[in-house]
Symmetry: C2
Amino acid sequence: MRRTFLSLLALLAFTAALPADEGMWLFNRPPTATIKAKYGFELTDEWLARVQGSALKVGGGGSGSFVSADGLVLTNHHVAQEFILKLSTKEKDLVKGGFLARTPAQELKCPDLEIEQLVSIEDVTARVNAAVTPGMDPTAAAAARRKVSADIEKENSEKTGLKCEVITLYQGGAYHLYRAKRYTDVRLVFAPEAGAAAFGGDPDNFEYPRYCLDISLLRVYENGQPAKPEHYLRWSKEGPVEGDVSFVAGYPGRSSRLITMAELDYQRNVSFPAGNARLKRLEVLLLAWGSRSAENQRRAKDFLQTVQNTRKVRDGNLAALYDPTFYELRAKAETEFKARIAREYPEATEARAAFDRIAEAQATMAKAAPRYRWLELGHAFTADVFFIARRLLRAGEERTKPNGERLREYADARKAALERQIFTEQPLHEDLETVLLADSLLAWSEAVGTNDPLVKQVLAGKSPRVRAGELIKTTKLRDLAVRKALYEGGKAAVDAAKDPLIEVARIVDAEARELRRVAEWVEEVKRQSQGILAKARFALDGANTYPDATSTLRLSYGVMKGYEQDGTPIPSFTVAQGLFDRATEQNNREPFELPASWARAKAKLNLKTPYNFVSTHDIIGGSSGSPVVNRSGEFTGIVFDGNIQSLISDFAYDDRQSRTVSVHSSIILEALDKVYGAPELVKELKESKR
Amino acid sequence: MRRTFLSLLALLAFTAALPADEGMWLFNRPPTATIKAKYGFELTDEWLARVQGSALKVGGGGSGSFVSADGLVLTNHHVAQEFILKLSTKEKDLVKGGFLARTPAQELKCPDLEIEQLVSIEDVTARVNAAVTPGMDPTAAAAARRKVSADIEKENSEKTGLKCEVITLYQGGAYHLYRAKRYTDVRLVFAPEAGAAAFGGDPDNFEYPRYCLDISLLRVYENGQPAKPEHYLRWSKEGPVEGDVSFVAGYPGRSSRLITMAELDYQRNVSFPAGNARLKRLEVLLLAWGSRSAENQRRAKDFLQTVQNTRKVRDGNLAALYDPTFYELRAKAETEFKARIAREYPEATEARAAFDRIAEAQATMAKAAPRYRWLELGHAFTADVFFIARRLLRAGEERTKPNGERLREYADARKAALERQIFTEQPLHEDLETVLLADSLLAWSEAVGTNDPLVKQVLAGKSPRVRAGELIKTTKLRDLAVRKALYEGGKAAVDAAKDPLIEVARIVDAEARELRRVAEWVEEVKRQSQGILAKARFALDGANTYPDATSTLRLSYGVMKGYEQDGTPIPSFTVAQGLFDRATEQNNREPFELPASWARAKAKLNLKTPYNFVSTHDIIGGSSGSPVVNRSGEFTGIVFDGNIQSLISDFAYDDRQSRTVSVHSSIILEALDKVYGAPELVKELKESKR
C-alpha cells in the first residue's frame, strides 16, 4: 500500500516492521485494520461519528472543533485572524490587543465567517462516470461531469438544505458527495494578543521548538441562541501521552502525492518558480509599504502573513523538488509503477497512454500558464476590489445560463459562498489596494510588454501607478449598497454601471475565460487519465488507500514524538518557561517580544506546563486548527503548524523528521486561567458546557 | 544644451527664463558662464582647486571631503558602514552602538578602506582614438583601446606614483586621464549609532522630510601621522542660505541620460525587471534569515541595506520607465534629435547608422543577458568567497598575459584594488554565505533547468542546499594565508590547490569569459556609435555639455529649496524637534526608535537647529557623502540621499520635485557637542585644525 503513496521511508528502505503513520484518510474508508494492528485500537463507528461531528471547517481554509455542548468552537488564532481583523479598527486593534467576551452579550459577530460541519458522505462515482460516455472529447466530458455534479449537488441541497458538494478523489478515481451543515452566525469569544498567538512571527513559522498560543474561541449561534451540537469533544485531563496513538481530524487542503512526474516537473519548473517570484515581490512591497507607518502596517498585516506563510511553504517545496535524493526516488517509483503495470496489469496499454496524455496536457498548460496567471488568476490585478468587480461581471453573465453550464463557482450550490465574497464587509483600503494594483499592473507590463493589446487597453495610456490610483479612486464598488444593486440587477445593471474596475475586468475577460477553458481541458484530461491510473493502483495494491487531500474532512493517526536535527535530539514538547527564555535570548525584539500579559502573569504560572508539542500525524496546509484527539475521543491539543522538514509533505510523507506542531491542551487552560483571567471559559472547557 | 540632456523641464515646456540647475559637470569643463549668468558667481581657478582638492572618493562607492588641516574626513555613516562593520564584533557592535575616539590613539584603523583625492585630469581622446584604425572590427577595436588605455595608465602611474585611470566620457565621445592620490591608512574617529545615522531606516530611505545624522568622521594618515592635505573645507558659520547658489562636489556613480531608446528599452524590458526580481528574492532571504536571531541580523545587515537601497532605486527607475509621460517624451526627444541630424548635420548617414548599430548590439546583449548574469556577473554564486575564488583563478591566468591583453580588472594599474578584494579582511560568515550560495544555486537551477550541463557539473548530483553547505565548509579560502599563498603562487599554485570553490569557478569560466567577450563587444559597438553621436551633439549644440556620471569627480550647482507634493508645500529644511515628533508618531517602533543618546540630550539641545535640507543639485548614487559648499568654498552640509522623486535622475533631470537631501552643517556641531560630548571634534571642525 505504501509503495503507491511514495512514503520516503519505504523508498529509502528504512522499512520498519509496522507501516509509518502515513495518510490523510477518508472518514468513510478509515484505516481500521492498520491502526488495530499497529496500536491495538479499534476505530468504532461511535468514535468516528463523534469525531466527525465535532471536527469543523472554519472560514473556508482552516479547521476547528466543537469543544462544548454550547456551540463553543476552538480554532487557531491564525485561522480566525482575518475575521478578528475585520472586527478591528484603527483605534481598537483586536489582533494586536486580543479580545475576551465575559458574557454572551459581549461576543462579537464575525462578518463573513462561516463554519461547516460534515453530515454525511455518499459515493457517487458510478453516476458521475456514467455521464461521461466513451468517445467524448475532454471539453465535452468536463462539461458533462460538471453538469452531473451540479445536478447531484442541486438535488441534494434542495432535499436536505445542506451544502452539497461532489468531491473528486484519487485525482479522478472516485467521486463522493459531501453534505455539510453551514453555520453563518459565528461570534468571537476569545483571542489572545497576536504577540502570544504568533510569538516568533514569520521567523519561527514552520520552525520548532515553538511557544505559540495559536488559539481562538468562537461560538456558533442558531436562531440567535448558542448552537447545541450533537457532537463535541470533551477536554482531556492528561493531554497527549508520549508514543500513544492519537488522531487529527481536519480539512487538509491539497496534496500532490499521486501526481505523475510530468505533473511534478510542471510544479518544479513552471509553477513554483513563477509563483514564488510573485510572492517575494509582494512580500517586499507589503513590508516596505507597511514600514512607512504603524497604520500601514496594520492594514498590510493579514495579507503579508498569508504571503509570508505561502512563500515559506513554497520555498520548502522547491528545496525538496530540487533535491535529487527526493526527485530521483520519486522518478524511480514511477518507473517501477510503470514496470509493474506492464508486467501485472491487464489494461497496461490504456494505463501507459494515460501517462502520455497527462504529459501532453501538462505541456499545453505550461504554454498557457503565464497568461493564465496574469489574466484568469488575476495576478495582474492584485486588489480585492478587482475580484469583486470580476465576480459581479461574471455573476451577471453566468446567471443567464443553465446551472450546469456555468463556471463552477457560479453554480447554484455555491451561491452562498459567492455572495459572501461579493458582499464582504472587510475593509477595502484605498491606499493599500492602490499600491497593490499599481505594482501588479507594473509586473504584468514588465512581463508581457507595454505593447500587449490588453495592457494598452487596461492602462489607457497611463502609468501603472497613475492608472491604479484612478481606478481605485473612481470605482463605486467599495460601497456595499452599490454591489448589492449591481448583483441584484444582474447583467443589465452591471453593463449599465460602467464602473471602471468592472470595465477593466471586461477588457480581459474574453481571454481570461479562454485560458480558463484551456486549464479546465487540461484538468479534465488529467482527471480522466488519473482515473485510469487509480484503477491500475486499486488493481495492483488494493483499494485500501487514501486519496490526495481535497479540503475535505480527513483522519490522520500518529504519536507525540520528538526527532533529531543535525545530530541534536529535539524533545516532543516545550514548556512555558521556554517562552520567557526565547524572548530573553532574542533581546525581546519583535516578533519575539514577551507579551505584557505573560510578563505580568509569570509569578502565578506553572512554568512547567507543556506548551507546544510535535507528533507524527500526516497533515498539510488547511489542517491548521484541527483537534488532536485521544483514544477516548477527547481533545488533547490543536494543530497549528508543521516543522520546516514537513514541507515535503505536499509530495510525500516522511516521518524521520517531519512533524505536526500543536498547542498542548494544558497550556490552554493554564493561560485562560492565569494570563487572561477567563474562569468562565476554563469552566466551560473543563465541563464541556456553559 | 539642455535639449540634448533631456531636462524634463524643457521637455515639458515649463521653460524658465534661466536654465535649470542641471548637470554633473567636469572640473576641467565647468559651467562657468551659466553660473555667472544665473547666480552672478564666478567660479575662479582658485575656488575650483580648493574644492577639487578637498572632495574625496571614499571606499570605492562613496564621496567625502577633507574638513580639517589634520586629515579629518567627513563622509556619510552609510558610506563608512561597511568598514565600521568590519571593526565590529558580536560583542561590540560599532554600527549599532556608535564610536568616538577621544584621542588619536583611540582611532581605529579601517581594514580595506581607501580614500582617493583627484590630483589632475588630462584629455587623452586623441591618443586613444588614434589607436583604433578605421576598418577594425569591434573586438579588435576594443582590444586596441584597452591596450592604449592600459599603456597610458601604466606610463602615468609609473611616472607619478598616482592611481591613473582613463575614463570614457560622453559614452565614448571623449577620454580623459584621471590621476588620483590614494590614502590607505584611514582610521575611524567618530560614528553615531545607526539609530541616529539611519533614523527611519529603509522605510524613510529616499523619503523626505528626514532626520538622519548620516555622518561619520575618519582621519587619513600618512607615515603613521595625520595627513596634512593642501586643501580642505572650512566650516560655514551660517550653513546653507535659502535660494543662494551652492555646489556639490563628489563622485556620482553612473547615469544614463545620453543612452538611445534602444538602450533605454533594454534597461526597461530586460535589465531592470530581471535585476529587481533578484533583489527582491535576496531581500526576502536576508530578512527571513536575519529574523531568526539577533546575530544573524547583525551579519546580514550590511548586505541587506545594500539590497534594499538598490531595490528602492530600481523600483523608482522602473516606475519612471513605465510612465508614458516620461517614456514618450524621451522617445520624442530622440526623434527630434534624429530629425535635426537629418536636417542640419553633414555626417547624417554615419549618425543614423550609429543609432542602428546600437540597436543591433543591444539586441545581441538581450540574448546573452540571462547567462551573462548567472555566469559572468556570478548571480548563480552569490557568496563573497566565491568571488575571491574566481579572482584567484583569473589572476593566475591573466597575469601570464601582457598587461594590455588582460581583463580590465587584472591590469597592472588596478593591482591594488584587486589585491584589496582578494585579501579582504571582512568576515566571511560560513552560515550566511551558505544560505546565500544555496539560494543562488537554486535560482540558477530554476531558471536554466537541472539538465543544464554547467548546473549538473556544479551541483555534482546534490541539492543546491547540500552542495552549497559542502562548498562553503570545505573551501580553504576563508583563510587569508591560503589566499596569499595562492595569489603569490600564481596559476600553478591555483591549479594545484584543487580548492572546491575555485574548481566551481573553473567549471563556468570558459562560458563566463565568452559571455564577457560578447558584453564587451556590445559595449565597444555602443561606445563607437555613441562617439559618433557625441560628435553630432557637439556639432549641433556646442561642446559646453556634461557627460553621464562615471564615478569621477563632478561639480553640481543648485540652491536649497523646498517643493510641492500632492498639493502640500514641503519646506526646505527640517529641525531637531522633528526627530522627536517622528519617533513619537511612529510609536518608537524600529527603525523609528528615538536613540537613547538623543532622548538623554533633549533638554540641552536647541530644538530649532536645522537638521536635514533639500536642494536642487543634480546628483546620483555615489554622490553620498559629497560636501555642499557655498560661494566662499565653505562646508554647509553633506549629501546623503535624494528624495523618491529624484530616482528619475538616472535618466533625466527634473527639478520640479526631485531633490538632493543633505545633513545641515549646524546639526553636526550641535550633535557632536550636546549629544555625543565630543568638544575636541567640534573645536577641530570650527577651527579647521586639531
